[in-house]
């Protein structure tokens, strides 16, 4: 099978959507520029024309309204933000308008709209460029929220998102863009609202999403070397949330660790733990546990930033605690902990 990078998978899904449906268009700051949103939109304007792939003014709020308005008259926009923080300017349109229209009109008008938001991290980006606010969007009925962790899912989920008839928030972690993986050439869909068991196991369940699923998997591999067989679930969607898959897994393993991609307090992991506890409290051998970004604004300096994120070592430690074990990591195992760059080839800035 063919391997693609995550960013290429996004681009391919976008190209397919543009090719197959004339009502799809793509707009965002820098979409047609030489860097093409970290490569995800490169070449699309020359292929599909400036009337379907285009730049915009730094007017995030209005442009969200524009996307909504165009959807009302038959278009299917994809709107792109290079940082989730820029989307904060458009929360009114996203939450009051897009999320509510179908209901407010008693089903007379739906808003097919994909908003891509990129989550930053590392290389000193600091407090205003590395937040991860998925729990906000997941809190809002009327929105769907998708966060792929692999190139395969990135393509399949984006195609599903564009074909979905509702507003879909599609969040991409910057550190995933250059990861590799199998991606079929054909058009295929990964359904929204279905989690994926990316490693099966029996000793405990680790639930994660987005970039943290990669780290969770690394941790699971390390644990395996220590004789612990964990199951890793990549959520893929936060709304709808696939509690069924999670519950089924935890019923089997009896133990749950949630690795949050954002802050834990009032975050995604709180919801996962509550959903599981409410449903199968009696089957749990111990309390579910969570780790995530430390409860602080993210500092620029790498001297501090590197300590703010969950790492494979921290995940292993948390898992071991759940199992009542102590695991001593080898030097080699500790080495997989990420620093402030996604890989060694990266020389900044984003």
């Amino acid at each position: 099978m063919r391997n693609l990078k995550f960013f290429e998978a996004i681009r391919e899904a976008t190209a397919i959507s543009l090719r197959d449906d004339p009502s799809v268009y793509l707009v965002g700051l820098g979409v047609p520029d030489p860097k093409g949103i970290f490569g995800t939109t490169e070449g699309l304007q020359s292929e599909y024309g400036a009337d379907r792939v285009f730049d915009m003014p730094i007017s995030e709020n209005a442009m969200t309204g524009v996307a909504i308005g165009s959807a009302l008259v038959g278009m299917r926009p994809i709107l792109t933000h290079q940082r989730v923080e820029f989307a904060l300017l458009s929360m009114e349109q996203i939450v009051n308008q897009a999320a509510k229209w179908f209901h407010m009109t008693a089903g007379k008008k739906n808003i097919p709209l994909v908003i891509r938001m990129i989550i930053g991290r590392g290389w000193g980006q600091g407090a205003q460029h590395s937040q991860s606010l998925e729990s906000w969007f997941a809190h809002i009925p009327g929105l769907k929220v998708v966060m792929p962790a692999t190139p395969y899912d990135a393509k399949g989920l984006l195609i599903s998102a564009v074909e979905d008839n509702n507003p879909v928030i599609f969040m991409e972690h910057r550190w995933l863009h250059n990861t590799f993986g199998e991606v079929p050439k054909r058009k295929y869909k990964v359904p929204l609202g279905k989690a994926n068991i990316i490693k099966s196991g029996k000793d405990l369940t680790i639930v994660s999403h987005s970039y943290m699923s990669i780290e969770a998997l690394k941790a699971a591999m390390i644990m395996k070397e220590h004789g612990i067989d964990s199951e890793v679930i990549d959520l893929r969607s936060l709304r709808p949330l696939d509690t069924k898959t999670i519950i089924k897994s935890v019923k089997k393993t009896k133990r749950l660790l949630v690795v949050d991609n954002g802050w834990t307090r009032f975050g995604v992991s709180a919801e996962i733990i509550s959903s599981v506890t409410e449903k199968i409290f009696d089957e749990l051998k111990c309390s579910p546990s969570r780790i995530g970004i430390e409860d602080v604004p993210l500092p620029s300096t790498r001297a501090l930033a590197v300590h703010a994120y969950p790492t494979p070592s921290k995940i292993v430690k948390a898992a071991a605690k759940l199992l009542g074990l102590q695991i001593k990591l080898s030097k080699e195992q500790k080495k997989s902990d990420p620093l402030d760059q996604p890989d060694q080839n990266f020389t900044g800035p984003f």
């Binding site: 003014p57 209005a62 909504i68 308005g69 009302l72 008259v73 008008k109």
Partner: protein, 322 residues
Amino acid sequence: MDNKLIKDQFFQMLRIRKVELKISELYPEEEMRCPVHLSVGQEAVAVGVCSALQKKDIALSAHRSHAHYLAKGGDLKSMLAELYGKKTGCAEGKGGSMHLIDLEAGLIAAVPIVGSTIPIAVGSAWGNMMQDKSVTTAVFFGEGATETGVFHESLGFASLHNMPMIFVCENNLYSVYSSLEVRQSNKRNNIKIAEGHGIVSLKGEGNDVSSVYGVIKESISIIKKQKGPVYVEFDTYRWLEHCGPNDDDHLGYRKDKEVKKWKINCPIEKTKDYLLNNKLADEKEIQTVSLELDDEIEEAFEFAKTSPFLDKKHLYTSIYSD
């Protein structure tokens, strides 16, 4: 001036006025349990604008939407049923007075967050352009909405892509109880701001339906020629309280003199005088139509009142589209 047109405009304004006053009258029964922002006094803008548009053209409104909805051809029964929260309402009661919609009539949006339909209107114009449809989009908003950032962003994007749309500002001098002077510099000029965006801007007399109509007709021809948006501004006045069925003159936030001046400058009386003076209609004809309107309105209220509510299970329907 087109005689049939002005007569038609007159009766449309009269109809809107009667509907609004009836809402005002019946609201204390506590059956219309939602906020209502009545348009009494501002009928000429709604009717002047919409009578210049075609049916296929699109209009969007904000919180004070009844007049726009009716003038654009929105169904009266559906509107009243919506205010009563009924299943037969234009949004089955889920929307309420602040979310009127009639797709048939081209009134595609009305929402109470100030300024928010302005970019949505730009999107409607943009979407139609992208589909090569020759549709004009008009968006109504108050002068308060010109204070929102999104208004200015919207002017910018509409101008950048030369969109076929009309920004219609109804300046009724107040945002709730707040007068212009606590919100906008007296050196400010929205016409000039819109022109700064490269947008042709016009001003008409907001309480003169013919003036409004003329300005919009001119706007449409400008749009055709220059393929660009137009900004238009009309001064007018709201007679009743900002939200609710009553007048609130006892609160003293508006000078008696001012209120009186504007009430004398009634858009409906003005047009009536014109009709009578030019013998385009006589008192009797007006009386006859007026009674017909009363009947229509009575019937519509009856319809709304006797319509059923949605069933409880519909709390969970139309959340997501398949």
